[in-house]
Amino acid sequence: MSSMGPTTVPDTDAQLMLRVRDGDGASFALLLEKHRTSVIHFLYRMVQDFAIAEELGQEVFLRVYRSRATYEPTAKFTTWLFRIATHLALNWLRDGKNERNQERLDQDTDGVPVLQVSDRKPSVESRMVYEVKLNEIRGAIAALPDKQRAAVLMHKYDEMEYSQIAGVLSCSESAVKSLLFRAYETLRARLAHMA
């Protein structure tokens, strides 16, 4: 994990956003194409419901578009983008809208065909093992405190630097490391049998 670096070139994104500010719709389309997947995947892992993740993802980009007139490249574009995404996800979680979905967590996979990602045709047994494993991971991550969860997802799946995660969560780098350490410690204990 030490080789993790930023996934985007900030200057390019900031320049694109400045062009959006000047009314260039094509630059917005480029930014959308570039960051859409990472934002939605992050939101999905935060709220664990794909339809909600897409809805929140649309809200993220709608807010980006609405804020174009006042945009100033004071931070990395992705930091700003993920700050909006994290804010929306945490608000959604805080509003308790996820209660219904948490109940469903052990029952199904929120209507998402989990095994579509695999090209091979797995046996029924391996499919069941995979689903059990996936549900355990989802459950363990869902049980983390909101900030720890956001930090883990940005660190593990979006390969963000500590400074960037700190920017998104509005805390210091050392606080991010502490959040990550505690979160991974909890996950290690909960998922020890899977290793």
Binding site: M1, S2, S3, L32, R36, T37, I40, H41, Y44, R45, F50, E54, G57, Q58, F61, L62, Y65, R66, N91, V112, P113, V114, Q116, V117, Y130, K133, L134, I137, R138, I141, K156, Y157, S174, K177, S178, L180, F181, Y184, L187, R188, L191, A192, M194, A195
Partner: protein
């Protein structure tokens, strides 16, 4: 052997587990080495969590929302910005307090203004000369009084009241 590292130092080593400092420490500390191994295994396990592709209609829906938002009148866009603030009880309570305070001040100001105005009007009544009544106005007043008299005759309750007062 018990590891003497503090949490922050341990966190640093586990998160940067391939750094020279970490590798050197793991050689001496079996507890941290085990933690690091299980950390790497955990990261591997987490890789199993794949996410499906974004729906094909995502962009279309987004652009429709952008178009709808652009067509919104300014006050609705302003409301959309303000609305989240009301979701937080502290802000909502603060704003309610400010509105009450403004209402209180305005109410007291208007009472003061009314009092001053009524004082002025009393004064003006005292000093104002009698306004001459035109013939048309006198005629209107007379007609209204006639109408009232007619209504009183048609009202049985008032008639009874009148009879009672006469009998007394």
């Amino acid at each position: 052997m018990k590891c003497g590292l503090k949490e922050a130092e341990k966190a640093e080593l586990l998160l940067q587990h391939t750094s020279v400092a970490a590798v050197l420490h793991f050689e001496l500390c079996p507890s941290c080495r085990d933690s690091s191994l299980s950390q790497v295994a955990l990261w591997k396990s987490l890789d199993a969590w794949s996410v499906p592709e974004v729906s094909s209609g995502f962009n279309r829906t987004l652009y429709a929302k952008i178009d709808a938002a652009s067509a919104e009148p300014w006050y609705e866009r302003l409301a959309a910005v303000i609305r989240p603030a009301f979701a937080q009880p502290s802000i909502a309570l603060g704003l309610a307090g400010i509105v009450l305070a403004i209402g209180f001040v305005l109410d007291h100001q208007s009472t003061a203004v009314f009092t001053a105005a009524s004082t002025r009007s009393h004064a003006s009544l005292q000093v104002a000369p009698a306004v001459p009544v035109s013939g048309v106005e006198a005629e209107q007043v007379e007609k209204t009084l006639d109408d009232l008299e007619m209504l009183r005759q048609f009202d049985p309750a008032s008639e009874e009241k009148e009879n009672a007062s006469k009998s007394m």
